[in-house]
Amino acid sequence: MSIILAAEALSCVRQDRVLFENLSFQLSAGQVLYIQGKNGAGKSSLLRLLAGLTLPEDGRILFRGKPLSEQAEVFAEHLLFIGHHSGIHPQLTALQNLAFWAAISEQAVADPYQLLGSLGLAGLEDIPCFMLSAGQQRRVSLARLWFSSQLLWILDEPFTSLDQQLIAKLEQHFLQHLAKGGVIVLTSHQHLAAEYPALQAIELEYRW
């Protein structure tokens, strides 16, 4: 099994507070890393480290056996990162937001109406996103997962404000991605309902 993403003795300091120290893990193709922890424990900071947005205080991150710092461009090409904020501009419509992210990842969406419809947004494609509910905005943001071809998904709280039906649909989509050899790193407050093969869990403690 090839190791896609690995962390070696990571530590992270934010605002003079040590969030975590000496954190290591290895993720092979088809695996999920499920990060748990209280608010402020450093979940989002860990995700931002893994996405290459910030540099660790100590330790290093490897992508396919090579340090991230040596292959930032290659890594970014294989990465789909959806952070704590959804990346949806509320003044734009769902379709416009989708078109923006499709253009950025240089992928064409075959049928955006069909895609948004399947996520329960039928009839809401053409109104500005600030008129949508939090859950609906989250769906617009997650729609990217259905047309992106990236190997590694890093998702910050993807289930927030989604209803049960959509969570089930999303987890089903996760399983498909894993079956294709993808890797997912995610944080969540709620427990994962679906059965994941080889799930890894990390619990971050809140430290002073």
């Binding site: 910030t54 090409e77 990162f81 952070g83 501009h89 003044q91 416009q96 499709a102 253009a103 950025i104």
Partner: protein, 221 residues
Amino acid sequence: MVMWRALVQRELQLLGRQKADWLNPLVFFLLVLSLFPLGIGPEPGMLKQIAPGLVWIAALLSVLLSAERLFKDDYRYGVIEQLVARRQGLFSYVTAKICCHWLSTGVPLVLVSPLIAVLLGLDWQSWQVLLVTLLLGTPVLSLLSVLGAALTMAADKGGILQALIILPLYIPLLIFASGAMEAAATALPYTGQLAVLVAFLLFALALVPLAVRQALRMNVG
């Protein structure tokens, strides 16, 4: 190129939805210009003499005002963060932002320049030079203001800080743009000043987008 067109389209859609973003600076520009005669006195000779500096200071203030919020929304909603993680589209995003910022603030200033000429009593020749300096200078102004907005994107306090950063960099532009207009007003050759403005523009075009990209990365990193 496809990506860039999509990004420009997005900026234009945003400008279409948030009309205050480009209408307010224009109104502000005209307002500042009309305050000066009220404060200094309406003698045409005096107005004509101070017109070059006046126009360029008012232009600076209005462009600065318009740039303040340029990246704030995209930063707040996590767009910038994901673009930086994505790496690839970031430079296109920056250039699209700069182009659309100039289209929405620089071009309107150029378009209202006949009105300025009437307000400040400029003659035909002076207006032509004003037009040329605006065409060459406002893109530099946009580039610098976008840089200021990018540097202060994640800062706790924006406005004044951005002005403090950008004003010193803006001095050469002010000197040569108003210098060209003054030279023209006294029937001296002004092509030298225009050439310097072209040089500033090319120099800023080459370097500022890179600096803006770097500034955005630092602000989320």
